[in-house]
Amino acid sequence: MPTATSAGTERTNQTERIFGMFKTMLLIRAFEEAAHQMLTEGLVHGSVHQSIGQEAISVAVCGNMRRDDLIQSNHRGHAHAIAKGANPTAMMKELLGRVGGTNGGKGGSMHIADFSVGMLGANGILADGMPLAAGAAQAVALKGEDKVVGVFVGDGSTNRGPFYESLNWAKVFHLPLLIVCEDNGYASTTATRSVTAGGGPAVRARAFDIPVVSVDGNDLLAVDAAAAELIERIRNGGGPQFLHAATYRLKGHVSRDPGMYRPKGEVEERWDHEPIRRCEAWLVGQGVALNEIEAARAAAQAAIAASVAEARAAPFPDPKVAYADVQDVGAPSCPK
């Protein structure tokens, strides 16, 4: 795996690329802070799973994909969606259950989806994204397309059967699938290693002869380099690849979870390693001016503030909408 992040000649291009990804991380961070604010104000109706501290993985993986490539998300999908190019305003409207939401108000945070950018949806059932993504990759192969399919799976979810079945499936059918394990060490309130045997996700993937690259998921440049290589391999017909990214969830598991199950001081300590400030330090080292960085941060916050304002102002959907899109034949009839 190439670790060099800025070969002299490419330095400026590379710096620009990373700065662009940095801005996406800022946008995600701002979106999730706003989403939590909306939750506390009672404007978000379901649960909210934040990716704060894990943004580098989504951004670097999706940053190496084409718009027509596909990604399958899980329950923690905001970062995946924004990184793939979903519109934060439409997403915020969805969280608030308003007209103009990505899902028309039918899904909410846990089902956030934007098929127009190849984001096949957040999903409330752990590890189910694995077979769904394998199937999408099989469709890509059947149609003879050169798309790559990416799937995000949590460390805790790798203890579910469909995870293994799908690894075997992807390898047997040599599918264009990138499996990205966001290993944040916890599954809800449980420390994943306490319920996980052996060497974990990477070792398990290798048991199916799927090539694995392990990276520090909070190091945007490391994830970027790994994702670039794996996606290129897949695009060149190399079959399924596995990216194991170590990271940490800085917020509670869901909504208002205080995260009491974590050792004292752990969260504080981990804040020092979170991806945005690490990337910021690198950018400064590359000669990006602090005021440029501050401007980017302000721009992200302004953009999300605008999204929130627009979402707050948007109307709720007409109740009749509830009856649409169940199915064509045998759909429920809307009472007068």
């Binding site: 899904g107 989806a113 769904l132 199937g135 499936w169 034949v329």
Partner: protein, 335 residues
Amino acid sequence: MPEMTYADAVREGLAEEMRRDPLVWALGEDLSTGHTSTSTNQYKNLIDEFGPKRIVNAPISESTIMGSAVGAAVAGTRPIADLRSIDFGLCAIDELVNQAAKIRYMFGGQARVPLVARMAIGTRHGAAAQHSQSYEAWFVHIPGLIVVTPATPADGKGLLKSAIRCDDPVVFMEHKELWGAKGEVPTDADHLVPLGKARIARAGKDLTIVAWSRMVVLACQAAEELATVGIDAEVIDLRTLWPWDCEAVFASVRKTGRLLVPQEAVLAGGFAGEVVATVAEALGDVLKAPVRRIGAPRMPVPYAPPLEDEYRITDRHIVATARSMVGYGGALARR
């Protein structure tokens, strides 16, 4: 029209749709290597015409057979996921109910799931508890799903073709004991049987018998026996359980005033309850006798023949109940 078996008819229907649309494909265990018993092979030789990318021989991974079919449907193809029977399909319920049935809706219509989940139902001689289940009623309860239960070779073909062309997930439930049944089958490549439309298998005026899948065969036998004692029964083959053709059933019950719904599945919680409940609510006034259901006792399917016979609903049960309904002397009848 040529005569062929139910298994051959559905295979022909699948082959026609695969020729018509290159995005139609099938996946399941042993699809290309053949079954151990050739009589019931609805995929025989299809591998030769369509190759391993469209007749996909799957690992023993029910969850992923169903789950990957969902993903492949969302991504623009038309997979037929063959779980062989509902007995094994129980290993893929989550992918069918939490994913296939909900994706179109929970994503606000951004996606369609044109998937056919093939899961045969029915008791087969000596198959015992884990290989004899009939849970068609479960899927009627799941928004987003269509439920199909063909009773004849012609409907097996025509309904499978409609299911494949349908843009929503269809649970296609053949009957294990019908695969060998023979019947006339239209050869016309556009022989489509519409989803949601019942068929009057036998016209009659005294009593309406509503059935589906193999029970249609038994209901028709029973109707002939009833004719010999002067009872003229109408037999309606629902063909599709969701949506089910309640207009056809209502029209018949308005005519006969009596409704009997026999089913092979366990009575408690079965689909017969949905049919008689709907009729009792809507037509309580026109009934000449209380609605009646027949279904299996609430027990797993036992192995030994005399025990299995105790579980099975036969034409004798239908005849006996029908006679009691027509001879009914209750308050309703006196109206």
